[in-house]
């Protein structure tokens, strides 16, 4: 999409994934591209069904094929193509180079295994150390993620821990082999706000210490604002806008992004005033529309939008938008009230 010749840590190009079901082919991801550099955080934002998680899992080769099918695209990690690797070869990468934090910590951990054994499994496999050594590393990891009394937690089963504690264990497991990319799929969605704040801080602190790159998949724009360096907004299996956090939040250029930002109540808006809302629902990915996928819900829809899919237009350096409105032939439009003029919260002391 906007990759330079210079090598990135991770480069995904034109990724398309479909699922073959009895009802037909679901085109879950339809040409997604992004890149990731060392030590940065890329947030992938979108609503349910927009293909965020499927793209992530495809990058890690975690999808069951079939029913999933890679239609096109490439995933290059440090210049090496990942999509053609066998499961056996991928094992060298998963857990060591890439690791993942899942949304639901109860299903992400094995309920029949003690925390310690689960943690050691990866360490022993990837670092080729003795069990005693692995145990030491594991307890160190548990300490690092801020769990009180790690030696006791080491011997416990997942169900005896709280949601926040389990999420910390997952993070400990994910970072135990010093991965260069951490995939976090809605890591705090299941948690309460105070716990969410703690986990986000932990992730930021660990990133500072280890320099891990993070791909954060989420629908919560508050979380994105506090974590992301760059943002890709997904809709109906495509990235419709990408740029730095500042570009996307302060200068959004795709009507869908306007809608997402406008739909959040802001702290100085009149109470009970109508929220800006996007009408309708996302399209059916069994039969995606011919033109722009967002056209049917877009209040700025042009004739061209229904006929042909727009390409990526460059808004400014590193900021692209997949929208016909950016074309020079399109007339100037004003985004809805309150999106550009979104009040910035004054930093308090």
């Amino acid at each position: 999409m906007m990759s330079d010749k210079k090598g990135h840590l991770l480069e995904v190009e034109n990724l398309a994934v479909s699922f073959d079901t009895y009802a037909g082919e679901v085109q879950a991801v339809r040409g997604v591209g992004f890149h990731l550099d060392e030590g940065e955080t890329l947030a992938i934002v979108g609503e349910s069904g927009s293909g965020k998680s499927v793209s992530m899992k495809m990058v890690m080769q975690l999808l069951d094929m079939p029913p999933a099918r890679l239609k096109s695209g490439s995933v290059r990690y440090k210049g090496e193509e990942m999509t053609t690797k066998s499961d056996k070869e991928m094992e060298k990468y998963r857990g060591r180079e890439f690791s993942m934090i899942f949304q639901d910590s109860m299903t992400g951990l094995n309920p029949t295994m003690r925390i310690g054994r689960q943690l050691c499994e990866g360490i022993i496999k990837h670092q080729k150390v003795s069990r005693a050594q692995a145990e030491k590393t594991a307890i160190e990891m548990l300490t690092q993620v801020g769990l009180p009394n790690p030696a006791a937690i080491y011997k416990r089963y997942p169900h005896t821990l709280s949601g926040g504690q389990r999420q910390r264990v997952m993070i400990a497991m994910a970072i135990s082999c010093n991965p260069s990319i951490l995939f976090a799929d809605e890591p705090t969605t299941a948690l309460d706000v105070t716990m969410q704040a703690q986990i986000l801080k932990l992730m930021r602190d660990l990133q500072k210490k280890t320099g891990t790159a993070i791909i954060l998949v989420t629908h919560d724009l508050g979380v994105v604002a506090s974590m992301a360096d760059r943002i890709s907004v997904m809709y109906a299996g495509q990235i419709i806008e990408a740029g730095t956090a500042q570009q996307v939040f302060y200068n959004p250029s795709h009507p869908y992004t306007w809608g997402l930002l406008g739909a959040m109540p802001n702290m100085i808006q009149e109470v009970k005033e109508e929220l800006y809302s996007i009408p309708g629902t996302p399209p059916d990915l069994f039969a995606p529309p011919r033109g722009c996928a967002f056209a049917a819900r877009c209040e700025y829809c042009l004739e061209a939008c229904l006929k042909e899919e727009p390409g990526y237009y460059k808004c400014s350096d590193g900021h692209v938008s997949k929208c016909w409105l950016m074309d020079e032939r399109a007339s100037e439009v004003k985004p809805p009230e309150g999106v550009y003029t979104r009040p910035r919260k004054e930093a308090s002391v």
Partner: protein, 320 residues
């Protein structure tokens, strides 16, 4: 009616047995009132008793102590017959739009169930017309009458849930995390609809949610719950702008703001620890273990709700 709140709750308690000697104090002595046409927003983390309050108000749970005055009449522990009458005036919108609609019934029958139970309409056509009207009110179509819930998306199902709650023209609706399971753009649609209906029909809401910005948007008053107790209560603007209780302050601080520059320049003061178990809670202030202001008295005595400003109550021994 003037001067009398629609709902007045006094010293409500609801305990659950959690074992031979374990008592889960889900709601422990809380009092509040809601005026007609107003929204009380109830916030707090999971396990703080928000949902139990909502369900107890609707008599889905029998309270262990305290009274619930609805239009001045105590409805706590009323008979089955009275409960049935109450369903005409109080309804609920549930969190999970997948679990709260029966998969065996058509949308028309789900919405019409209340109408049938209370025998509102004699003629089939009248009943059908009312259901059509409700479907259109919530932005669905007549054609949806004979469909089943599984044919709808989450947002549409929540609309069906709202139509069902409105069918009997209730005065009071408990919205229990009514928008939590929905996507951002759909949340805004549903919120706008709830606010519109409130204005048109003079509805009174108890809006239970953990999403502080949405609660701020719809509420007139807010109540902050922590582990079965109410730690702060007052006018929404007042509580948001001048939170008095350390828990409320921490909770508001923890919400990430969708503004990257702000988030970067203003690191959050993060509240440490997590919510303890509500089973056999220790005496004293429930928040004591996580509180920076805590002193000896906090672990011995439960602080009473005291007025910090007009109509703004907070329960803390160390109010500044």
């Amino acid at each position: 009616m003037s001067g009398q709140p629609l709902i007045q709750v006094n010293h409500l308690k609801k305990y659950f047995k959690a074992g031979p000697k374990a008592v889960l104090k889900a709601v422990d002595d809380i009092s509040f009132s809601i005026e007609k046409g107003e929204t009380l927003g109830m916030v707090g983390e999971s396990g703080c008793g928000k949902t139990t309050v909502g369900r107890t108000l609707l008599q889905l749970y029998e309270p262990d102590a305290g009274e619930i005055l609805f239009k001045g009449k105590n409805i706590a522990g009323c008979s089955r017959k009275e409960k049935k009458q109450l369903t005409r005036e109080m309804q609920m919108i549930f969190q999970d739009p997948y679990a709260s609609l029966s998969g065996f019934k058509t949308v028309g029958d789900i919405i019409g169930e209340g109408l049938d139970i209370h025998k509102i309409y004699r003629k089939r056509e009248e009943r059908q017309d009312r259901i059509y009207e409700l479907l259109e009110m919530v932005g669905l179509h007549r054609e949806h009458y004979n469909r089943f819930p599984h044919e709808f998306s989450g947002g549409q199902r929540q609309r069906i849930g709202i139509a069902r709650a409105l069918a009997l023209n209730p005065e009071f609706i408990v919205c229990d995390e009514a928008i939590s399971a929905l996507d951002v753009s759909i949340q805004a649609q549903v919120m706008n609809m709830l606010i519109k209906f409130q204005k048109e029909m003079d509805l009174t809401y108890l809006f239970i949610s953990h999403d502080l910005s949405m609660v701020r948007h719809i509420s007139d008053k807010i109540a902050v719950m922590y582990l079965g107790t109410m730690v702060e209560y007052g006018d929404m603007e007042e509580v948001y702008n001048h939170p008095a209780h350390p828990y409320t302050q921490g909770l508001l601080e923890a919400v990430p703001i969708a503004d990257p520059d702000y988030e970067r320049s203003n690191p959050h003061h993060i509240m440490a620890g997590e919510v303890p178990s509500p089973i056999n809670p220790k005496p004293g202030c429930r928040f004591c273990g996580r509180c920076q202001r805590a002193t000896d008295i906090c672990s011995q005595e439960m602080p009473p709700l005291t007025e910090v400003a007009k109509g703004h109550l907070a329960a803390c021994h160390h109010l500044k």
